[in-house]
Structures are given as C-alpha cells and as structure tokens.
C-alpha cells in the first residue's frame, strides 16, 4: 500500500510539473487529468475509496471535461502556443519559481520539524462513515454547500452570457 502511495505520488508531481511548464493548453489539460488520476490512486492507497471515486468522477471527469470543452470552443490555433512560448521567457519564471521554492522549503521544514509521528495504516474508511458525518452534525454545511452551488450557478450563467457586440455600451472607456 506504501509502494502504491509513493509511486502515484511521484507520478502526480511529475504530471503537475508538466502541466505548469507546457505551452499547449490541450497538453496541459491532459497532463492534469493524469495528475488527478494519480491523486485518486493515492486516495485508494490510503484507504479512502469514496474520496478516490469522487476525485475520478467529479474532479477528473466533470471539471476537466468542462475545461477541455471550453478550450476546444475557443479553438486556439498554433499562434497561441507560439505566443505562450514567448511569454515563458527565462525572465518570467525565474523569480516566481525561486519564491515558490522558498515557500516549499519553509513548509517542508515546518512539516519535518513538527512531525507527530501518526502513521496511516491504510484500513479503509467507508463512504457510510462519511455519509454519517455529512448528514449528522454537518447537515447545515451540506445545505450551505447547496446555496454555494446555486450562487456559482447564477454567477456563471450571468457572466457567461454571450451578449452581442452592439448591445453592449461600446464605450469601453478607461
């Protein structure tokens, strides 16, 4: 169970790295899907099948498909990837990556320093237990999540509306 965890962890990290550094959006999407599947594998390894399933269905399945659909809709041509490569000049990514590395070092230091030595044996935690929590004390949260999704729905529908050119103000002043 540890081997699966470490292997899929490695795959996930490499895929994510590839997502960030790739120039073609489609390639990035596919790498991300691979990364998500690897994380799902990790969940299974750790004994959280419900979470793993969720990850595969909702995350990789629904959200990524949505992304792919939108990217396809925008039919980005080769010019976009060329410009992308221009934007990725050394000057742009050196600074942020140094900063991110610094943050990582600090995080890892705190993680390593304060380790309380709990170990995950990998015995599964069934979806039933999660259901018991969700619809027990967390009932309020579930309702609120519904409201959250409602809000997101309305926002996306409003902002996403494709208002025709002449209808809008046309005066995009500063």
């Amino acid at each position: 169970m540890e081997l699966a965890f470490y292997a899929s962890g490695l795959v996930a990290v490499l895929a994510t790295l590839r997502v960030i550094t790739s120039t073609n959006p489609i390639h990035a999407l596919l790498y991300l899907i691979v990364s998500l599947l690897a994380v799902a594998l990790v969940f299974f390894a750790l004994g959280a099948p419900f979470a793993g399933a969720l990850e595969v269905i909702v995350y990789a399945g629904a959200i990524m498909v949505l992304f792919v659909f939108v990217v396809m809709m925008l039919n980005l041509n080769a010019a976009v990837t060329a410009r992308e490569r221009a934007w990725l000049g050394p000057r742009t990514w050196v600074g942020p990556s140094v900063l991110a590395a610094l943050l990582l070092v600090v995080l890892l230091a705190t993680l390593q320093h304060g380790d309380i030595g709990r170990v995950i044996e990998g015995d599964t935690l069934t979806a039933k237990a999660v259901g018991m929590v969700l619809f027990g004390p967390w009932l309020v949260v579930v309702e609120l999540v519904a409201m959250l999704l409602l809000a997101a729905l309305v926002t996306a529908s409003h902002v996403g509306r494709s208002v025709s050119r002449e209808a809008d103000s046309g005066r995009d002043g500063a």
Binding site: L107, T110, L111, H113, G114, I116, G136, P137, W138, L139, V140, V141, E143, L144, V145, M147, L148, L150, A151, A152, V154, T155, S157, H158, V159, R161, V163, A167, D168, S169, R171, D172, G173, A174
Partner: protein, 482 residues
C-alpha cells in the same frame, strides 16, 4: 445530533435569507420585474432582521458547527443592514442597466447568507463554507456590468486572488486538522493549549493569510484599490462593508476563542501587520485623485487601526471592535452611497475621479453634505461617528500600553486627514465650465437617496450622542461565548 426546535429558531435569520434567495430565483424564472424583485429582497432581509432581533433575548445558542451568540448577532445585524443599503443603492443604480437586473439581488442575498454563517461559525468547515458562500456571489456582483471593461477586470482580479487565498486557507485548515485531529474551534483550542506545535502554527499562519486577504491586511492589500475602483457601485459598497465585517468577526472570534493566538510573538506579528496597514494604507492614498480608490485605501488603513483590537485581545477589545466596525460601516456606506448615486452603469464607468466632484456643493448641497460628513467621519473629526471609533481604538491602545501602535494611529490619522481634506475641499471649489456629473434630479426621493441621507444623519447622531450604540454593543459583549 439532529436539529432540534431551538436550533431551527436560532437559525431562523439564516433560513429566511436563503428562502428569500430561492424565492427571488423563482421570481426571476417566473417573470422578470425589477421593482418586484427589489421589494422581495428587502422583505426577505427585513424579515431576517426581525427574526434576528427576536432571538436576541435568547442568545447564546449552541447550534452544531455554529454558535448564535452576541458577536454573531451583532455582525449579522450589521451585514443585514449593509445589505439593505446595498439593495436600495442597487435599485437606483441598476435602473438604467440594459442587461438582466434581477440576478444582482439573488447574489446579494447569497452573499448576505454567507456573511451570517461566517460570523456565527465555530467550526472550520462552516468557516470555510461561509467564506466561500460570501465570496462566490461577490465574483458575480463585481463582474456584474461585465460589458464594462473595468468591472470585468475587477471581477477577474478578485476571483483569481480570492481563490488562491481560499487555497491557502484550506491548506492551513488541513495543517491544523493534521496537528489536532479536531475541526471545531473549541477542540482545536483545547489541543493547542498555551503553545501550539509547529504544524498548528503554520496552519494558523496560512489561516491568517487566507483571512488577511479578505480583510486586506497589508501584504495582501494590493487588490483592494483596483477592485473598488472597477466594481459597480453597490458591489463595491457591499464588499467594503458587509464582507469585511464578517471576515473580521471571524478573525476576532479566532483570537478570542483560541488562547494559542494570545502568544507573545503572534501578538508582535499582528502588531507589525497593524502598524504596516495603518501607514501603508494612508500613505498610498496621499495624492489619490480617484474617490473610489481613495475609499479603498482608507478601508486598508481603517482595518489597520482595527487590528489593534486583535493585538490587545482582552479588556476593551471586543467592545472596541464592535463600536469601530459599526462606525466604520456607517461612514463607508454613506461615502460609497454618494459615489453610487452619482455614477450610472453607462456613464463611461463610475464617477470616481475627483474632478467630477469639483464644485458639487454649489449644485447639490445635500448630497455634498452627506459626502462631507462621511469623509469627516472617516477622518475621525469629533461630533461624527468616526471620532467615537478612533477614541475607542486610542483608549484601547493607551490602556494596553502599546505605545508603538498608539503612535502609528496618531501618525496614520494625520496623514489620513490630508487626503480626506483634499477630497472634501474639492467638493466646494467652483470650476467654471467643468463637465458636471449630476445625480438624477429626483435622487432625493429615490430609495437610495433616502438611505444615504439617513446614513449621514446616523453618522452625525452617533457622533453627538453615541450612548445607545455603546450600550447596545456592551450589552452584546456580555454573552459572547469564548
């Protein structure tokens, strides 16, 4: 444990707001009618406010994951009040908006619900969900007039950074959960004891980053001016008042509830952030010629002052935070109200540049009086509500003996005075032949006009006779849990 009767009653305000949101949505689906939707929203909010006042006597009530105590009720009342003002302003503002108008009220209701949850949460899950329920509609409200280039830009900026902040918040919560194994604040505080372990500390740090972004504490404040400038009037008003109040109340609850936060060096960190907030906020606004950006910077500065209450943590702190929040919200609502009333969605973006306001007094004396009073209150001149707030903060600082912070407040408010005066005097200068931005002639009658005028009177009244407000806040403080 299931929800008992008392729990339902305690949650009544929240339920009413969500119910209002849903009915508004159904209303939109049935037939789009702007006035109808607005009145429905107002009805919902007023009902929630009444419910809130009803359960006032029976607080505090422990609801699973939430606690309806004095602080939550105070914050809830403020948020509902601010939302009502935003609705009134939005009605006037959206009157001439070509696109669909009703969604705004729905988003506003959802955001209000989110704010109330956030204010009442004592569990990391509700904290997270409350924060997201508050932010999600805000993205929509900020980018509401997306045909306007600036509104879209504000929406995108806020979305991107807020999402990142939420990620930080989540990661912090995960670390705290990893360290303590508990998600409810009391539990976490119990495990932390006097000195939290290193994961816990890192978790608190990231939590601070996540919440700090929403309250625009200094290193995370850069988005504030751009978003305030670009956002449509009512959205900016809501963002400046309700959302900040809710998030600050959570921060306050975190500080008061968990003794871990009382540690010496954390107090030092918060003090440093507070000092930086005061000075940077005021300094950035020094030569600002855009009124909305100026109000953005002033909100950064004011929350710098407010952080002092967090730093002190005991004694007058809770009462000071309550009073200061109230006075700040009233003044900001009045200021943003005037800006919103003067701008229309299609006058080439909101009327924010100061030269639009030059000589406003000689044409619209009452509107200018309102803006003058609100700017004076933000500056903290006596006989306005802002002075009471500043007096409290200074009293807190002096009582606790934090001389650096007191010095920061003094220097900050002097610098602040400069740009408030600069903005205020522009209203009275007569510039012949300038392009005039006029509020719609019958603004006085319009709901927004009435509300803004009411707010200005409230500001002056709180300044002259603040005792009822103080009594109300001290009453609240008595039964605040933790």
């Amino acid at each position: 444990m299931t929800l008992t009767g008392t729990h339902l009653v305690a949650l009544l305000p929240l339920i009413l707001v969500c119910a209002a949101a849903i009915t508004v949505m159904l209303g939109i689906a049935w037939r789009r009618h702007h006035a109808g939707t607005a009145t429905l929203t107002v009805a919902g909010l007023v009902a929630a406010l009444v419910a809130l006042l009803v359960i006032w006597s029976r607080a505090p009530i422990e609801v699973p994951l939430l606690v309806i105590d004095g602080l939550a009720l105070l914050a809830g009342a403020t948020i509902l009040g601010a939302s009502l003002v935003c609705v009134a302003l939005a009605y006037g503002y959206l009157e001439r908006y070509p696109g669909p108008r009703e969604e705004f009220y729905l988003l506003l209701l959802c955001a209000a619900a989110g704010g109330m949850v956030l204010a009442a949460s004592r569990h990391l899950a509700t904290l997270f969900i409350g924060l997201e329920l508050l932010s999600m509609p805000l993205y929509g409200m900020l980018a509401y007039a997306f045909t306007e280039r600036r509104s879209l830009e504000a929406g995108i900026k806020y979305f991107m950074l807020s999402a990142a902040a939420s990620a930080f918040l989540l990661f912090g919560m995960a670390l705290i959960y990893a360290q303590t194994g508990r998600l409810d604040l009391a539990g976490v505080a119990g495990v932390f004891g006097e000195r939290p372990a290193s994961w816990g500390l890192a978790g608190i740090g990231l939590l601070l980053v996540g919440l700090g972004f929403k309250v625009s504490i200094v290193p995370f404040h850069l988005w504030t001016p751009d978003v305030y400038d670009g956002a449509p009037g009512p959205a900016a008003t809501f963002l400046a008042s309700a959302s900040k109040v809710a998030v600050f109340v959570v921060l306050l609850r975190l500080v008061l509830a968990t003794p871990g936060f009382q540690a010496e060096w954390l107090r030092g960190l918060l003090a440093a952030l507070a000092l930086a907030g005061m000075l940077v906020g005021n300094l950035l606004a020094l030569r600002q010629s855009n009124l909305k950006r100026l109000l953005g910077y002033s909100s950064i500065a004011h929350f710098g002052y407010l952080l002092v209450a967090l730093v002190v943590g005991e004694g007058l702190a809770l009462e000071t935070s309550g009073v200061y929040l109230l006075t700040y919200v009233v003044a900001t609502l009045a200021a943003f109200g005037v800006v919103t009333l003067l701008s229309s969605p299609y006058g080439g973006g909101d009327v924010a540049a100061l030269y639009h306001y030059r000589g406003l007094f000689w044409r619209r004396p009452w509107l200018t009086a309102v803006l003058t009073v609100s700017l004076l209150s933000l500056a903290g001149i006596p006989f306005t509500a802002g002075f009471i707030g500043k007096f409290y903060i200074l009293a807190l600082g002096v009582e606790a003996g934090h001389w650096w912070l007191v010095g920061g407040i003094v220097v900050g408010s002097v610098i602040g005075l400069y740009y408030y005066l600069r903005a205020m005097v522009a209203l009275y200068l007569v510039e012949p032949g300038m392009r005039r931005h006029d509020a719609p002639p019958d603004w006085g009658v319009r709901a927004g006009g009435m509300v803004v005028l009411g707010l200005a009177i409230l500001v002056v009244l709180l300044g002259i006779y603040p005792w009822p407000m103080i009594a109300w806040v001290t009453g609240v403080e008595v039964f605040t849990a933790g």
